[in-house]
Amino acid sequence: MTLIMPTPENAILARRDEIVGRLRALLPSQSLIVDETARRAYECDAFTMYRALPMIVALPETVGQVQAILRLAAEMNVKIVPRGAGTSLSGGAMPLEDGLLLGMAKFNRILEIDYDNRCARVQPGVQNLAISRAVEARGFYYAPDPSSQIACTIGGNVAENAGGVHCLKYGLTTNNILGLEVVLMGGEAIRLGGKHLDSEAYDLLGLMTGSEGLLGVVTEVTVRILQKPAVARCLLLGFPSVEAGARCVGAVIANGIIPGGMEMMDKKTIHAVERFQPCGYPLDVESVVIVELDGTGEEVDHLVGVVEKIARDAGATTARASSTESERLQFWAGRKNAFPAVNRIKPDYLCMDGTIPRGRLPEVLAGMDALAAKYDLGVANVFHAGDGNLHPLILYDSAKEGDTERAEQLGFDILRLCVSVGGVLTGEHGVGVEKRDLMGEMFSETDLDQQQRVKCAFDPQGRLNPGKVFPILHRCAEFGMMHVSAEKIQFPDLPRF
């Protein structure tokens, strides 16, 4: 299956030199990448299946420069694709051949740490983990911890509404940010929120979060910081079946316990991890569940006992509680190594991201096995068990004829299965280009039209990150949102894909 992107506009490509000339007047020379070899570095993000060479790469350093670029883009009808660190797993930052890739990496400063109001004001190119590092001396941290946190930037986290292993208890990005500065496509800079809570009108802060770079360019983020829990302990639990592990997870929550993290791995992953770097996971089980409990010492010790009993009742054959910090980290090491470990089995893997109602896990895993057999491919499963977010890793070899296509088809079928049991296409990786053409599985045409009307309210010309999220691009004029004269219609040759 081939991804169809908006056809590059010849009229724009023909004016490339003129556009570059105008940009040179706006940006210092080191902020503009024109040379083809250097542009190659930006041809994809962490979703490497599809690539495109951007027409121009700009790396602005100031809000004024971002505004100037967007005004120029409006004037010259240039499309914009924003990019943070390029760690998107769904192709959210995949370039357009007739578009300007707007890299925000130079916005890398922490502007203010306000301990009194428990927040930090940072630029969008600051790495997720750098925020926690900057405040850890005083015992604080920034809660959302996507597994790419050493590389991914907070601006990208906002675009994707990034999660992590602790979001059941501490929330996603959307629950942990207080304010944004955003440059709109017309070049206006607006502020949403700040150090206070909630909005004076519509919650545009919430809308921007997870909008996948389709609504505006984020130039500043105010994040909440939290005091680290006094104590964290982990339980390593092994079960004779996937069902038993799932039963345990449900019972923990039914008992009124919301763990800091609750992760599950299937047999294939457990064995891959133990071969990659042994960390003491039991090999005679069908599923491993890691439960992290955090809080004050008394509470954690008490809850460790309660969860251990719940696990035994659910049929756990292994139940070990960490008694030291290094033991806790060792329990986590396998989970954190799961992706590279699985990568040893096959040269490539495709990481899916559906979320399902947790209770449907056994049937979804069985269904997934059947699908994998049908496509003759292997699937290893890592699962944010607490919140139902599945990460099936489809193993394939891109050098082998037809493998890539089969992997992609299997991925689509797995996501359809997730939707059919009441789940969704993506829990934290975003739709991007990867799941774009599956949006119709979850939403009606009317639902998608309404989302696109919102897009039009922000970007009436449809020049910001087109080709992402929505399977069919409508001109805003079709929605009666704006008056368009014949010669000004954008993408007149746009394919309907």
């Binding site: 306000d114 009194d116 109001n117 428990r118 015992g139 999660g163 979001c167 929330g171 996603l172 629950n175 206006e188 607006i190 502020r191 206070h196 809570l197 909630d198 004076e200 009108a201 519509y202 919650d203 545009l204 919430g206 809308l207 979060t209 997870g210 005091q227 829990p229 019972a251 316990i257 919301i258 809080g295 004050t296 509470e299 008490h302 979320t355 109602p357 947790r358 944010h384 607490g386 789940g423 969704v424 993506t426 829990g427 934290e428 990786h429 739709v431 949006m439 979850m442 939403f443 639902d447 998608l448 039209d449 309404q450 989302q451 919102v454 897009k455 309210a457 999220v469 009666g480 949102m481």
Partner: protein, 404 residues
Amino acid sequence: MNPPAPIIEIHDASDLAEALSVANARGETCGITGAGSKKRLGRHAPASKMLSIQSFTGVTLYEPEELVLSARAGTPLREIERLLESHRQQLAFEPMNFGPIYGETGHAATLGGTIAVNASGPRRIKAGAARDHLLGFHAVTGRGDIVKSGGRVMKNVTGFDLSKLVCGSYGTLAALTEVTVKVHPKPETEQSILVLGLDEASSLALLRRATATPFEVSGYAMTPPGVIPGLDVNAAALRIEGPKISVSARRDQLLSALVEPSNRIMNLQAEHSQKFWAAIRDAEPVARQDGQIWRLSVAPSDALTVVEAIRNCGAPLRAHYYDWAGGLIWLSLSPAPDAHASLVRAAVDSVGGHATLIRADDAVRAHVEVFHPQPQALAALTKRVKVAFDPAHVLERGRMRAEF
């Protein structure tokens, strides 16, 4: 005086879509009403007809182990809370009851109305607002389109998060027909510590220091003398919830981290603590006064600056108190035709935040902006978002902004 708008009973989403399409065609405006418990909240701008969704009731999905509940928008909140209670669960965002503010007894609110105003309570810092608990919804837009967004799972980034938009939109974008929310375990027990007699600045500083501890405090309020009946001194109140074993341990740790031996302390055990926080949640300390009521959201460390600025410019402050460690300020002012809006807003604008006029006569709310004005570019964007759902301004016209 105009006759009241006719009330039309709506029975299902297609009814609602039909009514809104007709309103679009005829150029009429529609208000949406459930139990009517918030009819005096927002600008006063009567609609040509009221669409009642009071018969849209019933819980359609409740899976305690999955922490999820769906209900039709007109389902009484009381009924949902009773159901959750029977499974030792709750809505963690502690939706406020507007009854005391508008002089009505009981708690008539519906789940839909609660979401439409993004209600939240003292647990805001720890657990979030309604907007943080709305997982998905079904609604009919101002255009008359039946739409859905989100889902029933905890983690979902599929498409734009329209849940955030409808939450707190006062029905101006779409009329909710069904909503799905996250539910949480109800804490086994709770306790509160009141530190008495510190001055206002020190009390607020103590609350902010408490937000920087790892003890999972779930309420941070400060009440001046006389605001809570029987308390004639300033009180800085902290709430701790959870398993019994951990509540008393955390209480002791909090005391030793924050409180001087010379401080006067008062302890509130379970039921007393519950009553105290219900009063804070429902704005009872200002509701009791017959003044106009404002609700201010600011950075916690700016709280006292704002209140002093309002006091110093001569605004007739009758009562006030703080929640959210100072981030939420409730004020009661002597009534005036302009509700002292420019004084209050100038004080808030000097530090950043927003002020909402929660209680004033219809005549006042007809011409004073109830919601905080926005800078030009943001106001223009807000209007474009409104038009994206409701191009003819049919739904709740004038409820939030005079211009739509």
